[in-house]
Symmetry: C2
DNA sequence: TTTCAAAATGTTCACGTGTACCTTTGACCC
DNA sequence: GGGTCAAAGGTACACGTGAACATTTTGAAA
C-alpha cells in the first residue's frame, strides 16, 4: 500500500458496499434514490450507511459531476448593516436550496477583490454575487466572465452580467425634494463619487435633478471615497461654514455615523438646527432621537433575487423590479423601488434670524 | 468518447502538458514550485499556464490531498453587529492564509444548525467555528467531534472543544457595580436565559454577584429567549410598573433597540429618568444621545484567536486571554477581558420625589 | 571511455463518486 | 424449449491532481 487514505476517517460507499457484499455502484444508486435498485435493497443500504456514519464527499461529487454547490458573495464590508442584511438573506435563500455561501470581503480594495475571485474560481462555484469595487482590475472582470455572475447594488462597466440595483436616482431625488418641500433653501449632499460605478453617479444625479428643478435652492455636493471617514470630515467642513446648509442628504449609510458625530461636535441639534435624511434603514434609525428619516431599500427582495438567480431556484417576487436591458449587451438590469420613511430628523425650515 | 468533460471549460494540467510536450506531473511540480524541476522549465510551464488561463481545481486537489481550505462559521445572526464584526475579522484572518469562509446562519434553530453542520462536513472543512444554539441536537455535537472545532462566544456542554469567550461575569458585574456606585437602588437586568449555554448563565451570575454584595439594592432580573422581541416586551413591562427600576443593564446587544424603543414609548428619557448600560459596542452607541455607556468586548482579538486556531496560522495576541482547562476534558477555555466604556447613558441617581 | 550518483522528467496509480455499458436472472410467450 | 425482455445488479472508467516509484539524462569522478 503506497499511502493510506489521506482525507478520510469515515467510511466511503466502497466500505459500505464491502460490508454488505454488494457493489459500490449499488450503494451509490441506493443513496441517490435511483429506480435501478429494489426498494428493499435501498432501505437496507441506507440503514447501513446511516449506522456506519457515512458522509458523502462533496469534492468527489464535484470532480465527477460538475460544479460545486457553493455560491460566492463578494462585498466591501460586512460590518455595514446594509451588507450584513443582504448577506443574511442570501445565506438564507441559498441554504433553502442546499447551497453554501462563501463570504469574501473586498474592503473596497481591487487587489483583495481579485484574490477573492481567483480563490472562488478554483472552487468552481455555482455562481458569484458581487458588489464590485470602484477600480476593479481587468483580470477580475475576465475571470468573472466565465462564471454565472450577478452584480448587486453596484454595477461596474467591465463586468458583463445582470445587475440588481435599487432606484438610486429616485432615492436621492425623493430625499432632496422632500427637503425642498419643507422649505429648505440650502441643502447639502454627502455621497461617494466614482465615475466607474453606477451607485455614486446615480445617487448624485438624483439629487441634482431635484435641485435643478428648484432654482431658488442652493446645493452643496460633496463626493468622496466610500469609507466612513469621508462622512465625518465632510460634515465638519460643511457645518463649520458660516453659510452652512440647513439640511443634509446622505448618499450612503456609511456616512451617517460620521455626520451625526460632526453634528454633535459642532453643537448643533437635529432637527432643530439641521434636517437630515439618511440612506438605508438599520434598526437604530428608529430609536435615534425622534427617529431618522431615511430612504429605505428593499434589501430582502434584492438579495433574494440575486440568490435565486445564481442558484437557479424558484423565486417569489414579493416586489416587482423594473427590468431594462443594458446597452449593447444581452444583460438585464433589475431595478427595485425605494421608499422614503418619514421620521423625526427632518422638519419645516424656519429662518433662525427671523425667529429672533 | 463516453461523455465530455462535464466540469471544465478551462485547461487542466494535462492540457498544458500536452501543449508543451511534457508530462502532466512536470506541470504539477512546476506550479507547486517543487525542487525537482529546473528553474527554466518552471518558468516556461508557468508562463504557458498563465497564458492558457489555467485555474487549478480545488476539488481535485482536495480529493487527492486531504481536507479543503474552507472554514465554516456557524452563527445565530449576521445582522447583529456583534456577529457581523466577528465574521469580518474571521474572514480577514482566514483570507490572509488563503482560506475561505463559509458562513452558515443558524437563526438559533437547532434543526437548521444541524443541517448546516451536515453540509459543512461534506465539504471536509479545515475547521469549524461555531456559536452554538441553545438546544443543540446530540447528532450535531457528534458530527462536530470529528472535525477541528472551536466554540466562540458561547459554550454548549455537548461539544468537546476549546472555547473562546469574554469575561461575561465580569462584564455584567462591572455594569451593575457602576450603577450601584452611582447611587441607584433598584436595578433591572434584561438578558437571555438558558441553562445549557454558558453565556446567559454567566452574565446573569455576574449581575447577581454585584447586587448580592449590596443588600440595600433591589434587583429585578428578566431572562428570556435570545431574540430582539424579548427586549422590547420586557422593557415595557418593567417601565410601566409604578415601582420601576431607575437603571437597566442589558445582557445582550439584541435587547438594546427594543429597550430604547420601550423607553421612548413610555415617555421616559435617558439618562434623566433611567440609566442604561449596554452590551457590545456598535458604532451608533457613540452618537445616540450623549452616547450609550456599555461593556465593550474584544471582538477583534476573540475572532482572530478563533480563526488562527482553526487555521493553524501564526497568531499575534494583542490581548492576552486567561487560559483555563475545562473540567474533565483536555479542552481549554480562553477568556478575554472586557471593559466598561463610560458615555452618557448612565448618571448619578437623584430621587424624583425629593427633587420636587 | 566507463561508472555511477544525482538531477530531471516520465509512468502509474489512488483519492470517492457517478455514468455508460455489460451480465445475470427469471418471468413470460409462442 | 428457445427466445425475448425487463429488472437488478456488476464492471470499468473518467473527473484533475499529486505521491510513489521508474526511467532517462547529465555531469563529474575514476
Amino acid at each position: 500500500m503506497p499511502y493510506a487514505r489521506p482525507n478520510r476517517n469515515g467510511p466511503t460507499i466502497k466500505d459500505i458496499a464491502a460490508a454488505l457484499g454488494v457493489s459500490h455502484v449499488t450503494v451509490s444508486r441506493a443513496l441517490n434514490d435511483s429506480p435501478l435498485v429494489t426498494e428493499e435493497t435501498k432501505k437496507r443500504l441506507r440503514e447501513a450507511a446511516a449506522s456506519m456514519g457515512y458522509i458523502p464527499d462533496a469534492a468527489a461529487k464535484q470532480l465527477r459531476g460538475g460544479r460545486s454547490n457553493i455560491v460566492g458573495f463578494i462585498l466591501p464590508d460586512v460590518e455595514n448593516h446594509f451588507f450584513s442584511a443582504i448577506a443574511r438573506v442570501i445565506a438564507e435563500t441559498l441554504a433553502a436550496s442546499g447551497m453554501q455561501l462563501v463570504l469574501s470581503i473586498s474592503e473596497d480594495d481591487p487587489d483583495l477583490e481579485l484574490r477573492h475571485v481567483r480563490s472562488l474560481c478554483e472552487a468552481r462555484p455555482k455562481g458569484i454575487i458581487i458588489t464590485p469595487v470602484v477600480n476593479m482590475h481587468r483580470e477580475t472582470a475576465d475571470l468573472l466572465a466565465n462564471i454565472p455572475c450577478k452584480q448587486l447594488v453596484r454595477r461596474h462597466p467591465l463586468v458583463e452580467s445582470d445587475v440588481i440595483v435599487s432606484e438610486d436616482k429616485t432615492a436621492t431625488r425623493l430625499a432632496a425634494q422632500r427637503l425642498i418641500d419643507l422649505g429648505h433653501r440650502h441643502i447639502a449632499y454627502i455621497g461617494n463619487g466614482s465615475e466607474t460605478l453606477s451607485t455614486g453617479a446615480d445617487r448624485a444625479e438624483g439629487f441634482y435633478q431635484a435641485v435643478w428643478a428648484a432654482p431658488e435652492v442652493k446645493a452643496t455636493i460633496k463626493l468622496g471615497p466610500p469609507g466612513p471617514g469621508h462622512g465625518y470630515e465632510t460634515a465638519i467642513e460643511l457645518l463649520t461654514d458660516p453659510k452652512r446648509p440647513t439640511a443634509i442628504v446622505l448618499g450612503s449609510a456609511l456616512f451617517t455615523i460620521g455626520t451625526l458625530q460632526a453634528i454633535r461636535e459642532t453643537g448643533l441639534e437635529v432637527p432643530r438646527d439641521i434636517s437630515l435624511i439618511g440612506y438605508d434603514d438599520p434598526d437604530w434609525f428608529k430609536v435615534w432621537g425622534a427617529g431618522i428619516t431615511t430612504v429605505a431599500l428593499p434589501i430582502r427582495e434584492m438579495a433574494m433575487m440575486a440568490a435565486s438567480l445564481v442558484g437557479e431556484s424558484a423565486l417569489e417576487p414579493a416586489l416587482e423590479p423594473a427590468i431594462t436591458s443594458i446597452d449593447g449587451t444581452s444583460c438585464k438590469r433589475l431595478t427595485f423601488p425605494v421608499n422614503l420613511v418619514q421620521r423625526g430628523s427632518d422638519r419645516q425650515f424656519r429662518d433662525r434670524n427671523q425667529e429672533v
